[in-house]
């Protein structure tokens, strides 16, 4: 692209041609002040729109959920019955379903992500790094509906086979004592979440690990450490805070994920007892029921669920931002 002097010339050239060359000095000053002021106000308004949008979001969620909040209060969160016919709404099963799927998903994803990130950062030669990182970033960009489709038609049959095998051999264990033939359920939901979250955690972890100063690693190597020991004892502790941030970001994504989990996580409102039980997550509950909600308390309750989901993900997101921001001092951009 252009070099700096050229860029200046081209940009200024266009400006100079159109600048107020013929006007008098005083008129220039007034025009300048006015122009700047207008521009300032305009952009500041647009920036304020962002804040306004956030406020509107929170406000509308509260407003929509108000009827249900008034009816159930905080008992909504611990109630175990979700029965639209009886007008009883409690979301404990789906809260648990969400958290369990997200947790198991992360337990599967985190070792793989950090392992992959370590491999890419420290064991892959520099020229090869983008070639391996690129497919992983690509995976992060695949829409969740495609994950859901693949999950439903390709992954679930495989999981079904695994589940049936597990039940046959280890059915006495409470985790494997459930309806193995469904295929959809906690296990499927967790696995698809893991697959979706791995690229995100890997990409951020890799960026964070790249900020570990070489001097530190060399210091450890100079003491007679193997490369792995230098990574384990110096690089990982150094990057600790940021890596936790990356994991938390992944957790937020897993909790808020909708389409894929709706398609493979199962549609039930019962408390889960095993890995094979189907259960809604908060997001899949809203996705499935919203257009069927026929009366206002029903709709309001679903929005209440949305509010709870929002609250949880915002807290997680804030925590992740603070951790990653603090470690990398703004060197890492986190949006997807």
């Amino acid at each position: 692209m252009q070099s700096e002097p050229q860029a200046i010339k081209r940009a200024l050239g266009r400006t100079l041609i159109r600048s107020s060359a013929g006007k008098t000095r005083t008129r220039d000053a007034r025009v300048i002040n006015l122009g700047d002021r207008v521009f300032y106000i305009a952009t500041r308004t647009l920036a304020s729109c962002v804040i306004l949008l956030a406020l509107l979001l929170v406000g509308d969620l509260f407003r929509g959920a108000w009827e249900s909040i008034g009816q159930f209060g905080l008992k909504f969160l611990i109630g175990t019955t979700w029965d639209p016919v009886a007008r009883q709404f409690g979301t404990l099963p789906t809260i648990i379903g969400t958290l369990v799927k997200a947790t198991i998903g992360l337990l599967l994803a985190v070792p793989i992500s950090i392992g992959a990130a370590l491999f890419i950062t420290f064991y892959v030669p520099k020229w090869l790094r983008p070639i391996i990182s690129y497919p992983i970033e690509l995976l992060a960009g695949i829409p969740s509906i495609v994950f859901g489709l693949w999950g439903l038609f390709v992954m679930v049959p495989v999981i079904r086979v695994v589940q049936i095998w597990l039940k046959a051999h280890f059915g006495w264990f409470f985790l494997f004592d459930g309806p193995a033939v469904y295929g959809v359920g906690v296990l499927s939901g967790s696995v698809i979440l893991a697959i979706m979250v791995v690229p995100i955690i890997t990409a951020i972890s890799r960026d964070i690990l790249l900020t570990v100063p070489r001097l530190q690693i060399e210091g450890m190597l100079a003491l007679g450490a193997t490369k792995w020991e230098a990574i384990w004892k110096v690089a990982l502790p150094y990057a600790r805070v940021g890596l936790v941030g990356a994991v938390i970001l992944g957790l937020g994504r897993a909790i808020g994920e909708t389409m894929a989990v709706t398609m493979v996580g199962g549609n039930s409102f019962d408390l889960i007892h095993s890995l094979f039980d189907p259960v809604h997550s908060m997001a899949s509950q809203i996705a499935s029921e919203f257009t069927e909600a026929t009366y206002s308390l029903y709709v309001s309750s679903l929005i209440y669920v949305g509010l709870v989901l929002f609250g949880i993900t915002i807290c997680i997101s804030l925590l992740a931002q603070l951790l990653i921001w603090r470690l990398s001092k703004g060197k890492v951009a986190i949006f997807e």
Partner: protein, 288 residues
């Protein structure tokens, strides 16, 4: 050192070497697993979907289930309209806010807006759908393409803001100072110097945001809602590709499943295309 000590030391050393080998093997496996899943998913979409994508698929309307043929034209057009309308709202806000944050740095306010944008990228898309529902669908009394645009815009604004902000940060101050030193007012400097110089990165950010929004199905569930017919009316329900995939995939008809794969293929091609494009764009820039 006695012989025993030397032997023990040797054993410890060997153990360290073995540990390293195992660790490297493990890490390699992790990277391999990740790539494996990418390949598997892309492969299946290709396998199931590519065959069904043909001219008819892209240019005709859906037929009732059971009848062979038909296509997703309504969804393609619907998606394009909803996303472009969303971009029309999101780009000015995102860009304008980014300009403010970077070019008029005030203590706190600008940084807060940037921080807020980062936090907003974490809002689940289903919640964004609820927001658009409460803001647009309820007052207007019905589903509409426009409400879908509002939802998409909410998703796109933080992405555009953040990438634009980063792009502006990369523009060297010396350019701005050179312009100001010539007596050119600040607002002109921004419009005629800063924006053009960062235009590549800005465009990349917008394209990424569009690509991201196009794939989102959840917000469409109760905003744009879907429509089996071709429609150009943004005030009424309209079909979008991701929502169509969901509807077809969860329906009991085999040929609809086939179409879901095909539509996914189209979506993936688009996502891949924009990804490659933006990569090439950005790499071109870094060769300055």
């Amino acid at each position: 050192m006695s012989d025993v000590n030397a032997a023990a030391s040797r054993r410890r050393f060997l153990r360290r070497k073995v540990t390293e080998r195992l660790a490297v093997g493990g890490m390699f496996l992790c990277a391999g697993v990740t790539i494996f899943f990418l390949v598997t998913i892309l492969g299946y979409v290709l396998y199931h979907g590519a065959a069904a994508v043909n001219w008819e698929f892209l240019t005709s309307l859906p037929l009732p289930p059971g009848e062979n043929g038909g296509g997703i034209l309504n969804a393609l057009i619907g998606s394009a309209m909803v996303v472009l309308c969303a971009a029309a709202m999101a780009v000015p806000i995102g860009l304008g806010a980014a300009v403010f944050v970077n070019e008029f740095p005030t203590a706190g306010f600008g940084r807060f807006v940037r921080f807020l944008a980062e936090v907003l990228t974490g809002v689940p898309s289903i919640v964004v759908g609820l927001f658009a529902y409460a803001l647009v669908v309820r007052p207007l009394g019905g589903f509409s393409g426009f409400s879908g645009s509002v939802a998409y815009a909410f998703i796109m604004i933080p992405i555009i803001l953040i990438s634009a902000h980063e792009a502006f940060r990369l523009v060297p101050d010396s350019l701005r100072e050179a312009s100001l030193a010539l007596g050119i007012p600040k607002w002109r400097t921004i419009l005629r110097v800063v924006l053009p110089v960062s235009s590549r990165a800005l465009l990349t950010g917008v394209v990424l945001a569009i690509s991201r929004a196009l794939g989102e199905a959840a917000p469409m569930l109760f905003t744009a809602f879907g429509n089996p017919y071709l429609s150009f009316n943004m005030g009424k329900p309209i079909a979008t590709v991701p929502l169509l995939i969901y509807t077809y995939a969860t329906a009991p008809y085999e040929d609809w499943h086939q179409k879901a794969w095909a539509a996914s293929f189209v979506l993936l091609v688009f996502v891949l295309f924009t990804s490659v494009l933006t990569r090439a764009f950005l790499r071109g820039k870094s060769h300055e």
